[in-house]
Amino acid sequence: MSMKTSTRQVDGVTIVDCSGRITLGEGSVILRDTVRDLLGKGNKKILLNLGDVNYIDSSGIGELVSAYTTVKNQGGELKLLNLTKKVHDLLQITKLYTVFDVKDDEAGAVKAFAK
């Protein structure tokens, strides 16, 4: 299953609902383009909902890191929501779990963004 994203706004935060696989090629490109488009439109509070992402490879991890640093460098915030066990475990072994701000409750995650 390839990667799909859809976006919605909640209290000034853009929630990106992702599903499928974030892997080398299409999946990584879609994530990159989505984040780039949001930043281009001035949406700098981004919550990536990965609840339906069942697979991610090293390229996908790299794309998450790229998204995180790109948003941060533009003065924004990027947080992760609803990690599946596979993605959670991958971020743990790559020591990225503590780098990202990971949330498991959407309302709480939205509130956690700076006003």
Binding site: T23, L24, G25, D57, S58, S59, I61, G62, E63, V65, S66, Y68, T69, K86, L90, I93, T94, K95, L96, V99
Partner: protein
């Protein structure tokens, strides 16, 4: 159980990466590995195939990727060989080092080593060969293998 071998010669494309992963998943499942190990094996093969296609053969249509699977009662051995210039292991960074944590690449070999029981990387001037080994263990698998 006599060894069971399957070999594939694949183009240097993204399709190869996906195919290698799918075949690895199928063979690991048939070998009796559990879901988590199947995922780990398939992902290790995917990462090795990515390295072969991107970094080894650099998408060169004239270069191939050879993928061999060998299954015995004790282990699953997967060998992936490219036709590139040979990986310089000294240039593979430690992705867990604080200065590398936010790099956007360089985690493939680390993940491969994390997911497999043994990993051998043999670079040469005619390409890099990486051998991935996963041992069969667990009573269900042992019982299945012993009955054949």
């Amino acid at each position: 159980m006599s060894p069971h071998r399957v070999s594939y010669t694949l183009d240097s494309t993204l399709d190869t990466v996906n195919s290698a992963e799918e075949v690895a998943s199928k063979i690991a499942t048939e070998a009796g590995f559990g879901d988590e190990d199947v995922m780990k094996i398939a992902m290790a093969v995917r990462e090795a195939a990515v390295n072969a296609v991107l970094h080894g053969n650099a998408y060169d249509p004239g270069k191939k990727v050879q993928v061999d699977f060998e299954r015995t009662a004790e282990e699953l051995v997967i060998t992936i060989k490219d036709q590139g210039k040979g990986l310089d292991l000294n240039k593979v960074p430690d992705p867990l080092a604080p200065e590398n944590l936010l790099k956007t690449s360089g985690r493939g070999i680390f993940l491969i080593r994390s997911f497999m029981d043994e990993v051998e990387i043999n670079p040469s001037q005619t390409g890099t060969e990486i051998k991935l080994i996963k041992h069969v263990h667990g009573s269900a698998v042992d019982g299945k293998e012993a009955s054949q």
